[in-house]
Structures are given as C-alpha cells and as structure tokens.
C-alpha cells in the first residue's frame, strides 16, 4: 500500500536473452523462491527499485504518523489516547525497521531522509488527506491499515529477505491497529446520531482515497511486470484492490454505514463486488503534490528535522567529547 508507482528503471521485462550469467542465476533463485540476501549478487535495477520501494514505504510510515498524531491531544478518552499514542509510536518503529532494511542495500537513512524532505522521494498518497474529526482516526485504522495489510501480507513472501522479514513483523502490528480502528468505528456507529453522522462522513471522505492506495489500474501500471518477475510485487494492483473491496464492504454493512459508491454491487457471476470508477485525476494530482495536505505534511517533517538539528549536533558533540575523555583517561 505504502509504495505506489515504484519505478523499476527498465522499459520491458528482462528476458533470459537480455541477461548475463549472474543475472540468470539471480533470476533462477527468485523463480525457485529462494530469498535474496543483502550480500548476494543482484542486478543494479533490482537494488535501486527495492531502495525506492522500501524507502517509500518507510517514509509513508513516518509521514503517516502525522494525520493520526493530529488527534492524540484531542482523543476523547484516556484509553483511546493511550491506544492512539501506542499506535503512532508503532508506526515510527515500522519506519525504523524499514529504513534499517533498506540500509542493507547500501543507502543511508540520512540520504533517504534528505530525499523525503526535498520532495524527491514519495510516500503514500493517502497521508495527504486531512483528519478532520475523531472518526477519521477510526477510518484510518479500519480502511488505511486494512488496505496496508492487504498489500503487505503478500510482501511477507517477497524475494528480498530483509524486506520480507520486516513485513512479517509489521503485519502483526497492523492487524492489531486495524481492529482498534474498527472498534472506534463501531462505538461511533452505535453511538448518538451525531457520532453516527461523523462515522458516515469519515467513510465518505476516506473510501475512495483508500482504493487509490493500491496504485493505478493494471493497464496503466507500467512498472509492475518487472517487479512481479522479481517477486517484489506478488499480486497486481487491481487484484489487491478487489480483495480489499470484497473484504471491506461487509464490514461497512455491519457498521450500518453506506459506501459512497452508487455502483457498488455484488456480482454473483464474478463472485466479487463491482465498484464504480476511481477518479484517477484526483490520484495523480495528489501524487504530484496537489493533495489537500501535501504541503503541510512535508512542511511538518521539514520543521521537525530542522528544529531537531541543534539537538542532534549537541548529541554528536557530546558523544565525541565523552569518547575523547575516555581515550585520554585510558592513555
């Protein structure tokens, strides 16, 4: 979920005829479902694509702390406040694992952070939407984490070892978060008319952006085939999106709130829900930086980084001085 439209740097899927001996051996390992580890030989395009995908995923965790963090100080009960703080903290932890996993490919966390802050690196489009009410915190847990899990469970089997192992750990926590989000929605749906309206409004605003999290439709998805051959993308965008819709519609029914899609209907022949057309113009506008919160999200990250500069410098200066004193004492 958290990585959309990841470039592979190749125009067409590499065939055996394009490949040298190392690359053929590499592809054979992948085809045999043998994990690639950081010290193994890998094509440069594979390494670069993974760095893009994993850093985008990590940035999404970090930027994703902001829309939910927006409600920590206003959470309606102490228990909900504690759960939300712990959840946002978990996201910071996911960011850390993913940056660490990406670092095994030879890129530093500082370099990845610089790319995020300069606007060069992307993060998931979903976090450029605002959290306007408490119900949005429920909707993010239910829908956004739900979509994330849908995307990340297959990645637990992806070809790159450190990424796959990070995903196993992250998925466990995400499913816990999703249940907490759904629990918020349940309490609102069973609450006062005002609370129920709040829940419906949140669903109206988050449903379509959550469908966009899976990225463009397969026909438009130019880089997916190579990523699939490398097994860093195991199911197509449209397959994942369909699974997500099929899973989520009954959950909305259980809440007694209505999906904002008049075309949504069960299709008995396909055994799936049909759903309406996604507004891809909106998606591309958000990806290009024109979502409601792109500017605010990036500005908040930049400010946190800049405000923290003197703190990081002081910690380094102190560590250096302490090391020098220890060395002097040992001499």
């Amino acid at each position: 979920m958290y990585a959309q439209m990841v470039e592979t740097g190749v125009d067409a899927v590499r065939t055996a005829a394009d490949m040298g001996g190392d690359e053929r051996a590499f592809q054979a390992r992948i085809d045999a479902d043998i994990r690639i580890e950081p010290k193994d030989w890998m094509p440069e395009a594979y390494r670069k694509t993974l760095i893009r995908q994993m850093s985008q995923h990590a940035h999404s965790e970090i930027v994703g702390m902001l829309p939910e963090g927006n409600w920590i100080t206003r959470a309606p009960t102490l228990k909900r406040k504690a759960i939300l703080m712990a959840k946002v903290q978990d996201e910071g932890g996911h960011g850390l694992y993913l940056y660490s996993a990406a670092e095994t490919l030879g890129v530093s966390r500082d370099a990845m952070t610089a790319d995020l802050l300069s606007g060069k690196a992307k993060y998931s489009s979903i976090f450029n939407y605002p959290t306007l009410t408490w119900a949005d915190i429920g909707a993010i847990g239910w829908l956004v984490d739900g979509a994330a899990i849908m995307n990340q469970i297959p990645l637990c089997r992806c070809s790159f070892g450190p990424y796959a192992r990070a995903m196993v750990r992250i998925c466990k926590e995400e499913s816990f978060h999703q249940r907490q989000g759904y629990d918020i929605m349940l309490s609102l749906a069973r609450g006062t008319p005002g609370q129920k309206a709040m829940a419906q409004d949140a669903l109206d605003r988050w449903w379509w952006p959550s469908l966009m999290m899976f990225g463009p439709s397969d026909a438009e998805s130019v880089h997916s085939a190579q990523s699939a051959a490398w097994k860093i993308k195991l199911l197509s965008n449209d397959e994942l999106r369909q699974r997500y819709v099929d899973q989520t519609v009954p959950q909305a029914d259980h809440l007694g709130i209505t999906m904002p899609d008049p075309d949504l209907a069960w299709n008995a022949d396909r055994g799936h829900y049909d759903f309406g057309a996604i507004d891809w113009a909106e998606f591309h506008a958000v990806v290009r930086g024109n979502g409601p919160c792109n500017r605010d999200r990036l500005a908040t990250r930049v400010k946190a980084w800049e405000d923290g500069g003197w703190v990081r410098d002081a910690a380094m200066a102190h560590a250096d001085r302490r090391a020098a004193r220890a060395a002097a004492a040992a001499a």
């Binding site: 206003r74 703080m85 850390l96 408490w134 405000d307 002081a314 102190h318």
Partner: protein, 260 residues
C-alpha cells in the same frame, strides 16, 4: 485507613501531574528531533498516562465510597475545569524547544521518583501499589531525562545556552513540590502521604550533580511561584493550563452525551 475527602484530593494531585505531562508529550509525537527520540519520548508519555489512569480511577473509587459522584477516570480528566486540577505548575509549562521539554522532564522526574518511593510504605495499600508500579517506570525516566540534560548542557554552545535558559526559566516552578499544605500534612500524619519536605535535599543533590556534569549552573534566583497555598496543588494555575485543557477536553465537551 478509612477513605477521607482529603484522600480524594491527594489522589487527584498524584494523578493530575502525570496526566498533564503525558498530554504535553503527546503533542511531540511525530515531531521529535530523531525517530528514536520520538519513540522513546512517546514511551515516557504512555507510562505517565497509564499512571494517571490508575490514580484517577482510584480517586473516583474513593469519591464513590464517600457517597460522592464516583467519577470515572474520563469524567475526572475531561470534565473538570482548570481550577479543579491539582497538578504541579511545572508540568503545565509549555513544550517549547527540546531543551525546555527535557529540562521540565528532568526536574519533574527527579521529584517524581523520590515522591513515589516515599509512598511505598504508605498505610494505604492502594496508594503503595500504584506507587510501586509507577516508580519502576519512573526510574527509567529519570535516567533518560538526566542524560539529555547532560548531552545538551555539555553539547554545543547553542545547546548549552538553550538548556541553561530552560533550567533558569523553569526553576521557579520547582518550589511548590516540597511545600506541603493542610491536605498533605494531615495525610503525612496519618502515614498515607509522602512527606515532600524530606525530598528537597535528595532532589537538590541529584539535580546539582547532573547540572554539574552538564556544565550548567544552578539558578541563583530563589523566588518560587505557587507559595502561600496558592499553587498548582491548590488549583491556582498558570495561563497555560486552560489552553491545554481546551484542546484535551474538546470532544467530551462538544458531545457530552456520547460514549467513545
């Protein structure tokens, strides 16, 4: 010991300081100077929030046994006005920069651990049990915030100046921590409350040692706010608390009939 109206007041004092400080730390989430710090500071906030919930729940139970409203932790947190809060003035001071936040944390944590340990022999078993759980968590908080005072004090010229200014600015809010009023005195006599008068010397020893290691000076101005029974423990606050509560209490105030 029997439940007593002053015990209710005392429990609010124990719960409100961690509650307000947890609320302040919650505002840092996602905005820390480094990812590891963000995570660690949130841990401290979560500990304090958990402690506040135990104290406030206990306060509500005492209130019920006294024939009062028996308010829940949420009713106590979200529906009292500023003048009914009993937290220390120190914890309601603004987050400011990381130096301000860490100085506030260090001055409070050092007192907090001493106060909790002084509650371990309390004749009220509930008080002793909560203090025991909290003290284990706060022992780590004291280490962490002291470490940051040293790093920033003995860091760069800029961080040194910021940390010194932070300590200087907050110093006047530390006096009330050691001055008991009638509520505390009665409970000290009954063997329930911590005798905060005895905490000042060990607090100063630890603070002086950390400031010395941090190459910082102990503030010279000895004027303390909140004296004469007109401080945070008596519900006389600084302007900051009202704004903090307005944000924290918004949903419960806007939807008073709702369950969340």
């Amino acid at each position: 010991m029997d439940d007593d109206p002053i015990l209710f007041q005392y429990l609010l004092r124990l719960g409100d300081s961690p509650l307000i400080l947890a609320q302040q730390l919650g505002a840092w989430v996602g905005k820390g100077p480094a990812l590891e710090e963000d995570i660690a500071l949130t841990n401290v906030g979560l500990d304090l929030l958990g402690q506040a919930r135990l104290w406030l729940t206990c306060a509500g139970e005492v209130e019920a046994r006294l024939g009062g409203a028996g308010r829940s932790e949420d009713e106590l947190a979200f529906t009292r006005d500023g003048g009914e809060f009993r937290n220390l003035l120190l914890v309601e001071q603004p987050n400011g920069s990381y130096a301000d936040t860490m100085a506030r944390q260090f001055l409070f944590d050092t007192w907090h651990l001493l106060a909790l340990r002084a509650l371990l022999p309390s004749r009220d078993a509930r008080v002793a049990a909560i203090a025991d759980k909290a003290a284990r968590e706060v022992a780590y908080h004291v280490e962490r915030s002291g470490d940051w005072v040293v790093r920033l004090g003995d860091g760069t010229p800029e961080s040194h100046a910021r940390m010194q200014a932070a300590i200087d600015g907050l110093w006047m809010y530390t006096g009330e921590m050691f001055v008991p009023d009638a509520v505390e005195l009665a409970l000290i006599d009954a063997g329930v409350a911590a005798d905060v008068r005895a905490l000042e010397a060990p607090w100063r020893r630890h603070v002086d040692a950390v400031l010395a290691e941090a190459t910082l000076s102990v503030p010279q101005n000895g004027w303390m706010q909140g004296g004469g029974g007109r401080g945070g423990k008596q519900g006389v606050h600084t302007e900051h608390l009202g704004h903090l509560l307005a944000e924290m209490q918004f949903l419960q105030r806007a939807y008073p009939d709702a369950q969340w």
